[in-house]
Subunit: 336 residues, 3 copies
C-alpha cells in the first residue's frame, strides 16, 4: 500500500501506543523510518540498548525505546514502551492511513444479483462475484478478482487484485489476501485404474475455511478439502508462493514463510513457525510451538514435537543434532 | 467446485461402478465422505480389510469395499469392487454434479471476431480471447482468463479464472487448468555479450502443446519452447506452483507434485512420479516409471533409470543407498 | 510470443549481426531453428567446431558459426561471427517480428483520468490503472493487468496479462513482466505481542524500484520495502515463480532461476548467478560474481564471496568442498 502520512504530535503517538514520554511532547512527527534512513520528522525505534546512541544521533525527531533508555540523557523525545517494536508497529497504524477508498461497486464489476453486499464494501473494477456469495462490511475486493458462488467473506477484509476464490470458500473477518492468490482449488488426488493405467480424478468436493485475522501472500495457493475441510486457524500468517494441500489443518498463530509446501492432510498445530521452502509430506504432524528451519523436509506420517525446539534439514532433526552431522561430515571430508 | 448431490440408490451406483451388491439395493445415497465424517445417507469406501469394521459401524448408509468383504456379515449394504478406491471415485462422478453452467458468451467478454467458438462453450465474465483462436465444444473459459491469438483449446476443457494462455499454445480435450496458471510464457534463455557483459534475450519462439486429459494446478507456469516445442503428454497430472521450463518433454501418465521445477530441455518419460519441491537440471532425463521423492535434486544432463525404483536426495540416488548414507552420518555424529 | 517471420537474405542478416559471409549472400532465410529440426529456409548456429559438420549436412539454408569454420569447405552459406550464439539471438530479432499491436486504449480498460499515457502505449482489454500513474512511450499493458495508483512504468516495457503492480512501484525502460507476476506486495513482517501472543503487522510502507532492461518471470512475486526500498538492478533477469522479499537489494546483471526465494533484506551483488530453488536467509549477502547451484541454501546473515566461484548445498560451500563431503559420505556408507 502507498500510504498517506497524517502528522501527529509525540503526545498523540505516545497515548496511542501507551508509551511514557521523556522530553518534548509537542514535537510533530510526519513519518517513520529505520534509524539509518531517518530524516527530520521521522519516528524511529530501538529495541536493543546498544543501538540507542545511534538513534539519538540520527536525524529522527523522536525515538521509541525500551525501559533501558529511562536513565539516559536524551537529545530528542523518547517514548518508552515495554515492547518497542510493537509500539512502533502500532504508531505506524496511527501515522499512516491508506488513501480513502471509493466505496461502492464499480460499474464494470459483474456481481450476481443474489449476492449480499454489506455496508461499506468496495468492489473494484472488473471484479466477478458469483451467486449467493456474501461480502461483509467494509471489505474490499480488488480489481480483477473472481469470487465464486456461495463464497462468504467476513468484514474488514482486504482482497487484493487478481485473486481467485473458488466456490463455497469461507473467509473470516480482517483477512488479507494478496494479489494472485488462489483459494479453494481442487486438491491433487487421483486413483490409478490398474486395468488401464490411467489416472482418474478422486473427488475434491470439500471446503476451505480461513479464520479471522489470517494474512495470505501473493500467488499462494490453498486447496479445498477432498471431502472434508482444509482449515487455516485464526491469526495465522502465510507468505508468498506457499502451497497448502487438501485437508490440511493449520492451527492458530502459525507463521509460514515463502515457498513452503504442505502435502495433503498435514496438521500444523498452533504457534508453529515454518521457514521458507520447507516441504512437509502427507499426514505429517508438526506439534505446537515447533520451529522448522528453511528448506527443511518432513517425511509423510512423521511427527515433530517440542515447544520452542528448532528443527532443520531433510529429514528434519533437532538443529543441534543436525549441525553435529554437518560438522562430522566436514571433518571426515577434511581427513580424506 | 461446489457440487450438487443427486440422490441415487445403491443399485444405481453399483451399476455405474460395476460393483456387486450385498444387502439392500434400494437404500438411497445422498452424499460421500470419509468413514470418520460419515452421516446417514453417505457412501464411504474401504480398500483395506482392517478398516472394514469401522466403516460398517459408521453412520454411513453404504460401503464400497474389496472382495475381502464378501464373506462378512454386513449391517449395511456393501458394494464389492475390484478397485474400491476407483469405484468410489466413479461413484462421486455419478452422485455429484457441477452446477448447471450458463453457456454462452458473457457480454463483458472480449472475443475477437475471428475466433471460432464451438457449440456449448461457456465464456465467462471479462474473458479476453485473441484473434484466430479456437475453443472446442463444451469448453469453459473462466472469468478473467486471457487466451492469446491462435490458441487452440479442445473440447470439454475447464479453464478456471485468471489463467493466461500465451499466443499459439495448443490444449487437447478434457484438459483442466486451475486458476492463475500461465501457459506458454517465454523460456529463461539469454546470451551474454562478452564485449559488454550484458544479457540479450535468446529467441523464445517455440510452441507449447498440452495433450488430452492433462490437469494443471493453480499458479503453475509452463514455458513455450525456445524454437521447438514444450510438450505435456496425455493424462499427465501437474499440481500447484510447478515450473516447467522451455523445451521440456513430459511423457504420458506422469504425476508431478506441487512446487517441483524442471529446467529447460528436461525429458520425463511416461509414468514417472515426481514428489513435491523436486528440482531437475537442464537436459536431464528421468526414464520410464522412476519415482523421485520430495525435495530430490537431479543434476544437469543426468539420467535416472529404473521402472518402479524410488530415488531420493540431492543428487538423487536410489532410496536405499540414500538412507544408508543418512544412517552412516548419524552414527558418525553420535560417535564424536 | 507467436512471432511472424520476415524473409531476409543472408546478406541482410550478416550486416545486422556483423558477420562475415562465406558463400552465397543472396540465399533467402525464412526461419530459425535448432540444427536437429532445421527445414529449408532456416538459419541455424554452431558455437562448437565439432557440431559444424552436422549443421552443414542439415536441411538448414545457412549457418552462423565461429571463426573456427573459416577454412572449411562449406556446402551452404556460412556467417562467421565472434560470438555465434549472440549473433543468432540478434538474427532472431531481425527475422522475427511481433505481430503489429493495436495501439491505444481498449474501451473496456479502466484508466483513471489523472493517469499520464505517453504516445504509442497499448492498454489492452480490462486493464485497470489507478490515479496519477504514468505509462511510458510504446509500453504495452496486457489484458487484465492491474496497475496501482502512482505507479511509474518506463518506455518500451512489455507487461503481460494478469499482472498486478501495487501502488507506487517504479519500473524503468524496456522492462518485461510476464503474466501473473505480482510487484510490490507487502513484505512478510509481524511483531508478536508478548502479552497476547498475537502477531501484529509491521509497517510495510516502502517502495519497489525495478531498473531498466529487467525481465521478470511468470507468477514471480517481489515485495516492496518495509519502509525503505526493494531494488532490482539494471539488466537483471528473473525466472518464473521466484520470491523476492522486502528490502532486498539486487545488483545489475544478476540471473535468478525459477523458484528461488530470497528472504527479507538480502543483498545480491552484480553478476551473481543463482540456480533454481535456491533459498537465501535474511540479511545474507552474495557478493559480486558468485554462482550458487540449484537448491543451494544460505543461512541468515551469511556472506558468500568469490568472483566466479561456484557454491552448492545447504549450507552452501564451494562446490569442490561440497563434493568432497558427498564423496566421503558415500565411501562411509559403503564401508558399513
Amino acid at each position: 500500500m502507498t500510504l498517506l502520512i497524517k502528522a501527529r504530535s509525540v503526545k498523540q503517538v505516545a497515548e496511542f501506543v501507551q508509551a511514557r514520554v521523556l522530553g518534548d511532547e509537542a514535537v510533530q512527527l510526519t513519518g517513520l523510518s529505520s534509524v539509518e534512513s531517518a530524516v527530520p520528522g521521522d519516528l524511529v525505534f530501538v529495541d536493543d540498548e546498544k543501538n540507542l546512541c545511534l538513534a539519538l544521533e540520527s536525524q529522527a525527531s523522536a525515538v521509541i525505546a525500551g525501559d533501558f533508555a529511562a536513565g539516559k540523557t536524551n537529545s530528542k523525545p523518547l517514548l518508552l514502551a515495554k515492547q518497542p517494536r510493537l509500539a512502533f508497529a502500532r504508531a505506524a497504524q496511527l501515522l499512516c492511513s491508506a488513501p480513502e477508498r471509493k466505496r461502492g461497486i464499480h460499474p464494470s464489476a459483474s456481481v450476481h444479483p443474489s449476492t449480499q453486499l454489506a455496508d461499506g464494501v468496495t468492489i473494484e473494477d472488473h471484479v466477478v462475484i458469483g451467486e449467493d456469495a456474501h461480502i461483509g462490511e467494509d471489505t474490499r475486493i480488488g480489481a480483477g478478482s473472481v469470487i465464486g458462488a456461495k463464497v462468504r467473506i467476513g468484514r474488514n477484509c482486504d482482497v487484493y487484485p487478481n485473486v481467485t476464490v473458488y466456490p463455497g470458500v469461507r473467509l473470516g473477518d480482517r483477512v488479507i489476501v494478496h494479489a494472485g492468490a488462489v483459494l479453494g482449488s481442487d486438491g491433487f488426488g487421483y486413483v490409478r485404474d490398474q486395468a488401464t493405467g490411467r489416472y482418474e480424478k478422486f473427488p475434491q468436493i470439500g471446503r476451505l475455511e480461513i479464520e479471522d485475522d489470517v494474512e495470505i501472500g501473493a500467488n499462494t495457493t490453498i486447496d479445498r478439502g477432498a471431502w472434508d475441510v482444509t482449515r487455516i486457524g485464526r491469526g495465522t500468517k502465510i507468505d508468498n508462493l506457499v502451497h497448502i494441500g487438501h485437508n490440511c489443518q493449520i492451527g492458530e498463530g502459525v507463521v509460514i514463510a515463502a515457498q513452503t509446501g504442505l502435502s495433503g492432510s498435514v496438521t500444523i498445530e498452533k504457534n508453529v513457525v515454518l521457514g521458507g521452502q520447507v516441504g512437509i509430506g502427507e499426514h505429517a504432524r508438526i506439534e505446537e510451538g515447533v520451529m522448522l528451519g528453511g528448506q527443511g523436509g518432513v517425511l509423510p506420517n512423521k511427527v515433530l514435537r517440542g515447544k520452542g525446539i528448532a528443527f532443520w534439514g531433510t529429514p528434519a532433526k533437532p538443529v543441534r543434532e543436525y549441525l553435529k552431522g554437518l560438522a562430522a561430515l566436514a571433518r571426515l571430508a577434511r581427513k580424506e
